[in-house]
């Protein structure tokens, strides 16, 4: 692969190869000197048209841990409309000799569009509702760490599926590793279909015998748009200790962050032994190092 836009066309072997590299990177992060010279001479730009401190820091740290030079560009798409376009912005960076662009935008397709304009490598840092491939890779990595294998494991994704790029990318990725993926949420926040996932408006059905549960953040905008009622959501979709009794004993919990405690997730659960949230964040850097290494260094051998 030349860019990382989503997982369309990916094979199981490609995923496993990337995760294998990520495991090496995780070991690098345990060393006294958490840095390797692998990407010396490369320049990576984070180009965020939608603010996201966490994701940006994770990518920048990943690039720096590999000794790449990092520049970061942040602009609101709303200000882009008036002046410079996406294309102008990217071509300006291209002229500065950027090798890889980490692009985040609030509209689906911007990283895809970018591949038509720049010669460098494009990594999707999250585009609208469409995809967040490095998040899904770090989720898969974390799940494998916890479960050993995803073959035949049931993973439930709960919450606002319709607007979630995290859900879409996980639904593309996890089945490649053999997982059975269920998505659950209120009907107004479910898509009509998502190839690779079973859809249900009933949380219990998704949680039943699940090995792990991924809880998504509920955006305030959905309430403002009148699509759901908060109390109704909490009553029927909040993941709680009691509801988790339906899942396998000790089922793990994931959340892409940032969390609304006591809205999508019972507050105490986030700090329980089930929670893999901190491991997700830590693994994020290793996975992004692997992705940068795979995209920037040579062709697939």
């Amino acid at each position: 692969m030349r860019h990382l836009l989503d997982f369309q066309g990916w094979t199981k072997a490609q995923v496993e190869n990337t995760l294998d590299t990520a495991r090496v990177m995780a070991e690098v992060l345990e060393r006294p000197v958490k840095k390797v010279p692998a990407l010396q001479g490369f320049t990576v730009a984070t180009v965020f048209f939608e603010p996201s401190t966490r994701t940006r820091i994770s990518f920048e740290l990943a690039a720096r841990r590999m000794s790449a030079d990092v520049v970061s560009f942040a602009a609101q798409a709303s200000s882009l409309q008036k002046g410079e376009s996406y294309k102008d912005t990217l071509l300006t960076l291209e002229a500065m000799g950027i090798d890889a662009y980490i692009i985040r935008a609030d509209s689906a397709g911007v990283p895809h569009q970018a591949t038509r304009w720049v010669k460098g490598v494009v990594v999707n840092g999250g585009d609208g509702r469409r995809a967040h491939p490095t998040q899904a890779l770090l989720d898969a990595y974390t799940l494998l760490e916890a479960l050993g294998t995803l073959e035949g494991r049931k993973i439930a994704i709960v919450g606002d599926i319709l607007h979630s790029r995290v859900a879409r990318s996980n639904v593309e990725l996890l089945p490649l590793l053999g997982a059975e993926v269920w998505v659950a949420g209120p009907p107004t926040l479910l898509p009509q279909s998502l190839p690779g996932a079973r859809l249900t408006p009933h949380l219990d059905e998704a949680l039943a015998e699940a090995d792990a549960v991924m809880v998504l953040r509920l955006q305030k905008e959905r309430m403002e748009a009148g699509l759901i009622h908060l109390q109704d959501y909490i009553a029927h979709y909040q993941v709680t200790e009691a509801r988790l009794k339906k899942a396998k004993p000790g089922a793990f919990l994931l959340h892409p962050g940032p969390m609304n405690r006591d809205i999508e997730l019972e507050g105490t659960l986030a700090d329980s032994e089930r929670s893999l949230v901190n491991r997700q964040v830590r693994n994020g850097v290793a996975v992004r190092m692997a992705v940068l290494y795979h995209l920037l260094v040579g062709r697939e051998g």
Partner: protein
């Protein structure tokens, strides 16, 4: 590629490694603070064998680690094929140790240079030795081996292939010649 000659057979390989094992213990004046680090891929079984020989004649365990130098290569921005990165696993603290880096072939010295950098990032060893089964010359960096199984003068278009039982199913060192295009 065309086969040219056998440089070492299994028995010669064993003897060379056995000798290296002795030389290491001698140079270090015993096994105190000694540790071996094999460089992926074939340096690892060679390091393990040396450790075994030391155990046989000294009756003491020498720890062995494995080192992948891919992320320290100096040609990553130029190469065509991406090398697979592999685990580095050094299950002991290298600080204060006398480390012996073990590799199959010493050629340009670039792998040894990368390995030295990688080791420095892992801690501060008391000293680092370099042990290789074959030194084929053509150094591009000021690096030399402390322990050498066999010195083989080669031409640049020749390739030294080290085969080890654990990886290749046999012990043998061969000299091959690259056909000119």
């Amino acid at each position: 590629m065309r086969f040219k000659a056998e440089l070492l057979n299994a028995e010669e390989m064993r003897r060379a490694l056995y000798r290296i094992a002795h030389e290491i213990v001698e140079a270090n004046k015993g096994v105190e603070g000694l540790a071996l680090v094999g460089i992926h891929t074939r340096g690892i079984p060679l390091a393990e064998r040396i450790a075994r020989y030391i155990r046989e004649f000294e009756g003491k365990e020498v720890p062995v680690g494995m080192l992948d130098i891919t992320l320290y290569r100096d040609d990553l921005s130029e190469i065509g094929i991406r090398p697979q990165v592999r685990q580095t696993r050094i299950p002991f603290d290298i600080t204060g140790k006398a480390l012996v880096l073990v590799d199959d072939v010493l050629y340009t010295g670039r792998t040894a240079r990368a390995a030295l950098d990688a080791l420095m990032d892992l801690g501060r060893p008391r000293r680092i030795y370099l042990a290789v089964l074959v030194d084929r010359g053509h150094r591009e960096l000021p690096i030399r081996a402390d322990f050498v199984g066999k010195n083989v003068p080669t031409a640049k278009n020749e390739v030294v292939k080290v085969k080890v039982e654990e990886v290749d199913g046999e012990d043998r060192v061969e000299l091959w010649e690259r056909e000119e295009a």
